[in-house]
């Protein structure tokens, strides 16, 4: 019997990572309908110096909103995008997010390249396929893809590309590059 109707939908996760203000929200919004996903988290003292807490010293919890997007490929096949909270104190959320993830996009800003080191390290260690997308901000000095590859000390097979996260076609290209990369890793492993 054909049991297509009772089949569970196939859900794939793609993570979007990178430093604060690098364009994660914009990228997710360029390619999908974006919604803020609320998670309620305790602010620890490790947050001091990262967030501006002046005047809110009495506040000990905060609501974190994670960018959440959904691309429906067809009925029963959906790609979910999650913009990972950038700060180190949210890394416990990354473990959950990256479990079973198809891959990750690390957005880099060449003016603050060190901001994406932790993301690159994280995905390298977990063996999660990832691509580095260099967001070309207006007026930002452009570096070549090769410079970025060297600066981040990336393996040769990790795709590095320039992009403009505001443009849908560019965001699309980044996602396609990632899935193709995941597919290559899969077929070379078999």
């Amino acid at each position: 019997m054909d049991s297509v109707l009772s089949e569970d939908p196939v859900a794939l996760k793609i993570l979007v990572a990178g430093g604060f203000g690098v364009g994660k929200t914009t990228l997710v919004g360029s390619i999908s309908e974006i919604k803020p996903l609320r998670t309620e988290e305790v602010l620890s003292d490790r947050g001091i110096g990262i967030d501006d807490l002046d005047g809110v010293e009495g506040k000990n919890t905060t609501t974190v909103a994670m960018d959440f997007g959904r691309i429906t490929i067809r009925e029963g096949l959906v790609v979910y995008l999650f913009g990972t909270p950038g700060q180190e104190r949210f890394w416990f959320m990354w473990d959950e997010l990256s479990y079973g993830a198809l891959g990750a996009v690390v957005i880099a800003d060449t003016r603050r390249l060190t901001d994406c080191f932790p993301s690159v390290d994280y995905f390298e260690q977990r063996g999660t396929p990832f691509v580095v997308a260099v967001n070309c901000f207006d007026g930002a000095q452009r570096h070549s893809v090769d410079d970025v590859r060297i600066a981040l000390d990336l393996d040769d097979d990790v795709p590095v590309m320039l992009c403009d996260v505001r443009r849908r076609s560019s965001a699309k290209e980044v996602m396609i590059t990632l899935v193709e990369h995941s597919l290559r890793q899969l077929t070379s492993a078999n």
């Binding site: 309620e40 067809r74 079973g100 849908r168």
Partner: protein
């Protein structure tokens, strides 16, 4: 008589804190539900909903068609942690089923990845 002073507005945040909906608990059998796990209502949401709170009834209605944990959190505008506790209870009571995406199952399926690539190209 004039109206009394306005004590609070939107800026004050919700009048009922989200965790009050689940009696202050932050743990349940739903802890490990993946954000993209599929939630499905079992049985008839209208018939089963009588003793439930409005949020739980909302979940039963929303999950008549399979829906992800993350989508439910957005739909109910509640933190994921709160939704997980509710879902854990509701599953334990046989009201819903929660199916985890088989880790690596879909991502290790060549045909599905090719379908995704083609689907993205067609966007």
């Amino acid at each position: 008589m004039s109206d009394g002073p306005q004590w609070f507005d939107e800026e004050a945040g919700p009048v009922v804190r989200p965790y009050a909906l689940i009696r202050g608990r932050t743990r349940s059998s739903g802890d490990m539900f993946d954000l993209v796990a599929t939630v499905r209502t079992l049985g008839d949401p209208e018939a089963d909903g009588d003793d439930l709170g409005p949020e739980q009834r909302h979940i039963l209605r929303a999950a008549r068609n399979p829906i992800s944990v993350a989508d439910l959190a957005v739909e109910l505008d509640l933190p994921v942690g709160v939704i997980r506790v509710m879902l854990g209870d509701m599953r334990d009571n046989g009201l819903i089923s929660v199916t985890s995406p088989s880790a690596g199952g879909a991502r290790s399926n060549e045909r599905i990845l090719k379908e995704v690539i083609n689907g993205l190209r067609a966007l």
